[in-house]
């Protein structure tokens, strides 16, 4: 039964294999791809339903006991992340049916997409540091190819920066993991966590090194999750590929980095939290501020949104840095929220581009007048991102701000609130320019007819709009009825802060269900 834990890895892989074997059979590929996404989502939902009551599931790959083999673990946080990733995978896969060009589709878009999902799910589920590195690489190489697939000049330029900086990050990840083994003699996260909770068994040197190695991990994961001052690759590259690629990247890749940071800085690197978590807070503040200022400066929708990814990452890190049950719950909730909001915004941007042929806010306009539905579909995620109640973003922000105030961390709270107003400012910029403003004279005239014509051609309306509608509806639901998700986030936070179950299930009750007290 616990083999269910493998499904989020194996299903995308099998799907990708089928897609590789069906190379260039575009129609069949689409079908297989959708079936794969749906199965992944169902498996993730099933997994989540097992974990949601508070259980921690673990299984030892190839049946070698931990810490010798590789363990897969699902606690609330990881199962939730897998669920969200699978959901986004499905949504964007549907959306891309309408936006994919035949060339990219013939040259491996579908299999790469699934392999990326596989890497993401693997990184969420693994309980082994080196195995996490491997999943990161899986995710990374497929994102490299997805990013550059098509070979346009801007893609290549962005690709070179993306590839270089991320490979550097991988190198750091790799050597940090090597050093971790060299210091502690184990790679299993639960095993490491257990040892770190018995500091008397460790030598001074080990303790010191376990406060230095986190910095390497912080840099490695920090590059991947686009923290200040390591985020440059993201705004340089995220706006270059087709919009559905950007959407799935923004939904998943940086979030995996944050997931890993949360995981290792709650489970393993707790030797000197005053030192490490203060650094995290400082970085969090700088990340949100520089990110949002970057967004303010932009007039191109994709670039603007890309900078916002950076800014939001700061909030996610803030919850980790504050390190309290509420703040971590805030981070988990924020993660769900921001994944939904950000991808919805990119997807809406894609629709605008499809209608008006540009992402330039100066050239866009008139959408409020011509399509109230598109306006609503943009308005909800945009103002949710800005933290307007009762949309999902508000509760995320509220939890973080409250946690910060309770802990007396006024500086980061001030930053968070100031960034919030700047986020609002840049969201209203898109709203005012692309929606409210009358359309400037240009090649394409946007009116209701034009929109319905564009959307209706080639049965594209349904795949284009369905995912956005569903995501936007979710944002409202999560906002108005926030309690279930918040309760799950709190459960996840409690498990993160007290990983006794996690450690026991992995090390002592392997491959069996464990009920939390």
């Amino acid at each position: 039964m616990n083999n269910l834990l493998f499904m989020p890895i194996v299903i995308p892989l099998i799907t990708a294999i089928c897609l590789i074997l069906l190379w260039r059979q575009r129609v069949i590929q689409r079908l297989v791809s959708l079936v794969g996404c749906v199965s992944l989502f169902l498996a993730a939902a099933l997994l989540f339903s097992f974990v949601a009551p508070g259980n921690v599931l673990a299984i030892q790959a190839a049946n070698w006991p931990a810490p010798f083999g590789i363990t897969l673990v699902a606690d609330t946080f990881s199962a939730l992340m897998v669920l969200v990733a699978a959901f986004m995978g499905l949504s964007v896969a549907i959306y891309s049916l309408a936006t994919l060009d035949p060339e990219r589709e013939s040259f491996g878009y579908h299999p790469l997409y699934h392999i990326m999902l596989m890497g993401v799910c693997g990184a969420f589920l693994t309980g082994d540091m080196f195995n996490m590195y491997v999943w990161y690489e899986v995710m990374l190489i497929s994102s490299f190819v997805l990013l550059t697939l098509g070979g346009e000049r801007s893609q290549l330029e962005g690709g070179v920066k993306y590839v270089t900086l991320n490979l550097l990050a991988s190198t750091l990840f790799l050597i940090a993991t090597g050093m971790l083994y060299g210091t502690m003699g184990t790679l299993n996260l639960a095993d490491l966590g257990e040892r770190m909770r018995q500091p008397e068994t460790l030598s001074d040197l080990q303790l010191g090194l376990m406060t230095t190695l986190p910095i390497l991990y912080l840099l490695a994961f920090g590059i991947k999750s686009a923290l200040f001052p390591l985020f440059f690759w993201l705004p340089a590259s995220y706006h270059t590929p087709p919009i559905h690629v950007t959407a799935i990247f923004s939904a998943l890749l940086t979030k995996v980095g944050i997931y890993s940071l949360v995981r290792v800085f709650t489970l393993v690197f707790i030797a000197d939290t005053d030192f490490t978590h203060t650094i995290l807070l400082v970085i969090a503040g700088l990340t949100m501020i520089t990110g949002v200022l970057g967004a303010v400066a932009q007039m191109e929708m994709r670039r603007l949104l890309s900078f916002h990814i950076v800014s939001q990452i700061g909030y996610l890190l803030m919850g980790l840095g504050l390190f309290s049950p509420l703040s971590l719950a805030g981070t988990v909730f924020f993660m769900v929220h921001v994944i939904l909001a950000k991808s919805a915004l990119f997807l809406v941007g894609g629709v605008l581009h499809r209608v008006a042929g540009t992402y330039d806010l100066k050239k866009l306009g008139g959408f409020y007048r011509s399509s109230i539905m598109l306006s609503i579909l943009f308005f909800l995620p945009a103002f949710s991102l800005a933290g307007i109640p009762p949309l999902s973003g508000f509760w995320a922000k509220f939890a973080l701000v409250r946690a910060g105030l309770e802990l007396g961390q006024y500086a980061i709270v001030t930053a968070a609130l100031a960034v919030s107003i700047l986020t609002l400012f840049s969201m209203t910029k898109i709203w005012a320019e692309a929606f409210w403003k009358a359309q400037p004279p240009g090649k394409v005239q946007v009116d209701a007819d034009q929109i319905s014509r564009t959307l209706a051609s080639g049965q594209t309306a349904l795949p284009l709009l369905l995912p956005i509608v569903v995501i936007a509806a979710l944002m409202v639901i999560i906002g108005v009825a926030a309690d279930p998700v918040l309760a799950i986030s709190q459960q996840a936070a409690n498990q993160l802060l007290d990983p006794t179950d996690y450690i026991n299930v992995v090390l002592h009750e392997s491959a069996s269900l464990a009920n939390s007290p």
Binding site: F107, W135, L149, T186, L209, L424
Partner: protein
């Protein structure tokens, strides 16, 4: 031509179409109003009503409502005025293509506003608070295709939104310090909260929130700009409801935060300045709505000022004035809108003699103006008298000088308000007829019903005071009780308080106000406008806003240019510096330098040789001009690594490293060698960077190297204790069924790693293939087409 422009403005001559919908939709606020009316008596007689639903228990947020005198009064105003506004909007925007949006936003706004005033939970109160900001953004920007509408909407949103965030922090502090999110529980904990060390920051945060929303100095500037909104919006949001949310919050929190001297001074000073400034600026305006906007600022200042005084009389005055203001201001805004709608202009210099053409509107405007001036027996008169009474009452609590200041401010404010009342009604409706862009005629019923009812109410309620205690016992006293958090509160309203010296003084001052106002109006009406055109303020708050906004955007552009400059080198440099800096800091603070260990065996000659070879090859890779040479040097490093693997008991690694290295070299040659141009570029490259840059890079790269070396020295200075090593050695043959332990790890113990690894390889190959082939597919397509 004009027709087209007007319909773009939202003004159409087909006035009946669409207004019917307004009548029907107005039934919703009306039914609210009726419902709230039925609550008046139970609330006045008994306990406040509390209704509570769980909303987000994990954060302690309830959807709970507290209906007491204060919230009920606000709810009545919101739903009552709302009813007429909806009807009015139907007439005003008849035929507008987005009138449906207007109704939707107005209803949404009204519900948010009702939620705000009725909330018991401070977080749900905040939720509704933000909703009013966002709906007002949509309403102010209703004429969204106009630059200034968008500008004003954004300004209102940013100012109130920023204030809202500050308020959020304040409310959270309040909840944390007070130990509850429920107002009804916090009311009893006022003293404990005021003794807490966080009281002052909390107070300031909450006040900033309230001041931005209620357009207090220096945040007042957004309100006049918000007049870009269609008139129904201004009438509703900017007179009767949204701007009063801040006042409401202050009143609501008086039992919790009020009563301290900090509270007194901040509120009276800010309120006083706002009051006088608003009244003063109003008389220099020529735009009807603009005059009304500034007098609204005056009204809001008055309310804050009174709440700051905080005495029982002052609270009574605040409650009464709140009603007075909502009634006359709502009516006057709608009158101004009707004038604009029927004549095509709102400039008082272009208006005159409209009374003949728009008699009903003129009467309504006149009644409202009289209430505004405080003419007996209007409710405005009652309100003004209590204000003066409470100002005199200050002497009981504070120094005489303070009383004088308070009285002077109140007086000036009231006189100037009276002047404005003249400006907005006397000038347009009386005098001789002027030519206006449109030929005026009476507005439709949907547009005069509201002003008539509201202004008539101002008269009727004022009269009622003389013979009924209904108003004071059912409305005013319960509201005062809620603000003061006391059960037995008595209000006393009258048109004539008797002949005691103090009341006579108040009455005299009240009359003097009216006389002064009329005098100033008659003397100055023609000159105000021209003065305002000659005198420009050297600096005002709006310029501050603009400065901040521009500054922020310049900062953003500057920062983005500096950080995101596009040069990959620079990015890598930052990463390398972070690595060396952060890593070094952590390492040297936590571990410190560890000396190299040369025991048990000092490296032998061949080991030194290999090490030396690698370093030399590294230098050659850097230095060699020839591409092939650099590739070979790089290969040497790789083969040396394989050599080390052989020396240290890793045959599998050696084989793999050897074959991969060969493959890499082949790949490099295949990819690069044919590109003769690249070899040239390598030579150029050396000339590209200045020596200074190269030294800098060398230093940074070197410090990364030092960091790596020292951390490795530290790790290897102690022996590694690993159970894993022995487990693999023992399990490999019996259960892994293989003698090559490394291979058993790869395909069995850690087979999952290998699965990921081969996936990476597969994708990399597909990537290479697609990158090359897709490009050629494109190329071919371009050539054929």
């Amino acid at each position: 031509m004009r027709e087209g422009m007007l319909s773009r403005l939202g003004l159409s001559t087909t006035q009946t179409k669409g207004s019917l919908a307004g009548w029907i939709i107005a039934l919703l606020p009306l039914s609210f109003f009726v419902f709230f009316c039925t609550l008046i008596e139970p609330v006045a007689m008994g306990e406040p009503i509390r209704i509570s639903y769980p909303w987000i228990p994990s954060l302690g947020v309830e959807l709970s409502f507290l209906i007491d005198g204060l919230s009920l009064l606000f709810a009545l105003i919101i739903s009552g005025v709302g009813t007429f506004i909806i009807i009015y909007a139907g007439g005003y925007l008849a035929g507008h293509h987005q009138i449906g949006h207007m109704y939707t936003y107005l209803i949404l706004f009204m519900i948010s506003m009702l939620g705000l005033v009725l909330s018991d939970n401070i977080i749900s109160l905040f939720v509704f608070w933000e909703l009013t900001s966002i709906t007002s953004y949509l309403l102010i920007g209703f004429k969204h295709e106009y630059q200034d509408s968008r500008y004003s909407a954004l300004q209102a949103l940013l100012v109130t939104g920023a204030g809202g965030l500050v308020l959020l922090a304040g409310l959270i502090l309040l909840g944390v310090v007070g130990g509850s999110w429920q107002l009804s529980e916090l009311f009893g904990r006022g003293e404990a909260i005021q003794d807490h060390e966080l009281y002052l920051p909390m107070l300031i945060l909450v006040l900033i929130g309230a001041f931005t929303k209620s357009a207090q100095f220096p945040f007042h500037f957004w309100l006049p700009n918000a007049m870009a909104a269609p008139t129904p919006v201004s009438a509703y949001l900017h007179s009767a409801t949204m701007v009063k949310a801040g006042v409401f919050l202050l009143a609501r929190l008086t039992p919790v935060l009020g009563g301290t001297s900090t509270w007194f001074f901040i509120l009276t000073i800010v309120g006083g300045i706002t009051m006088v400034m608003g009244a003063f600026l109003a008389i220099f305006r020529t735009d009807l709505k603009s005059i009304l906007a500034y007098t609204t600022i005056n009204g809001l200042g008055t309310l804050v000022f009174l709440l700051g005084l905080g005495t029982e009389l002052a609270i009574e005055a605040a409650i009464v004035f709140l009603m007075v203001h909502s009634l006359y201001k709502g009516a006057l805004f709608m009158v101004a809108g009707s004038v604009d709608h029927e004549t095509g202009t709102r400039d008082i210099r272009e208006l005159g003699g409209l009374g003949k053409y728009m008699p009903i509107t003129a009467v309504a405007g006149g009644l409202a103006a009289l209430s505004m001036m405080g003419m007996p027996p209007f409710l405005g008169f009652v309100g003004k008298e209590i204000i003066y009474k409470s100002a005199f009452g200050v002497a009981e609590h504070h120094m005489f000088l303070i009383m004088l200041a308070v009285l002077a401010m109140a007086f000036v404010g009231k006189v100037l308000t009276g002047v404005s009342a003249g400006l907005v009604t006397v000038s347009p409706f009386l005098g001789s007829k002027t030519t206006t862009p449109k030929n005026p005629h009476e507005a439709p019923i949907s547009m005069w019903l509201g002003p008539v009812v509201l202004s008539a109410l101002g008269l009727l309620l004022g009269l009622s005071v003389a013979f009924s205690k209904g108003l004071q016992d059912m409305i005013v006293a319960p509201a005062m009780g809620a603000v003061l958090h006391e059960h037995e509160v008595h209000a006393k309203l009258a048109l004539w308080y008797g002949t005691e010296p103090e009341t006579l003084m108040v009455f005299g001052l009240s009359m003097l106000t009216i006389v002064a106002a009329i005098g100033i109006y008659i003397r100055g009406r023609g000159t105000f406008a021209s003065i305002s055109q000659r005198v420009t303020m050297p600096w005002n708050a709006e310029q501050g806003y603009q400065f901040a906004l521009n500054g922020m955007q310049s900062l953003a552009r500057w920062q983005t240019r500096v950080l995101q400059h596009g040069y990959l080198q620079g990015y890598l440099l930052v990463v390398a510096m972070t690595l060396a800096g952060f890593g070094g800091l952590a390492f040297f603070s936590q571990v410190g330098l560890v000396a190299p260990v040369w025991s048990p065996q000092f490296p032998m000659v061949h080991e030194w040789l290999i090490a030396g070879m690698m370093l030399v090859a590294t230098v050659l890779t850097i230095r060699l001009d020839s591409l092939l040479g650099a590739i070979v040097a790089l290969g040497v490093v790789g083969y040396a690594v394989a050599l080390i693997f052989i020396l240290y008991a890793a045959p599998d690694l050696a084989i793999t490293q050897f074959s991969i290295e060969t493959l890499t070299v082949i790949l490099f040659v295949l990819v690069l060698y044919r590109r003769q141009t690249i070899t040239h570029l390598l030579e150029e490259e050396i000339a590209r960077d200045s020596p200074a840059k190269r030294i800098r890079d060398l230093l940074i790269a070197g410090s990364v190297g030092v960091f790596i070396t020292s951390i490795m020295l530290a790790i290897t200075s102690e022996p590694l204790v690993s159970e894993l090593k022995h487990f693999f050695a023992e399990e490999s043959v019996p259960h892994g069924k293989g003698h090559n332990v490394v291979n058993v790890i790869l395909i069995d113990f850690r087979g999952l790693d290998t699965m990921g690894e081969i996936t990476v390889l597969g994708v990399a190959a597909i990537g290479v293939y697609s990158l090359i082939k897709l490009w050629f597919a494109r190329d071919a397509e371009n050539n054929t087409s």
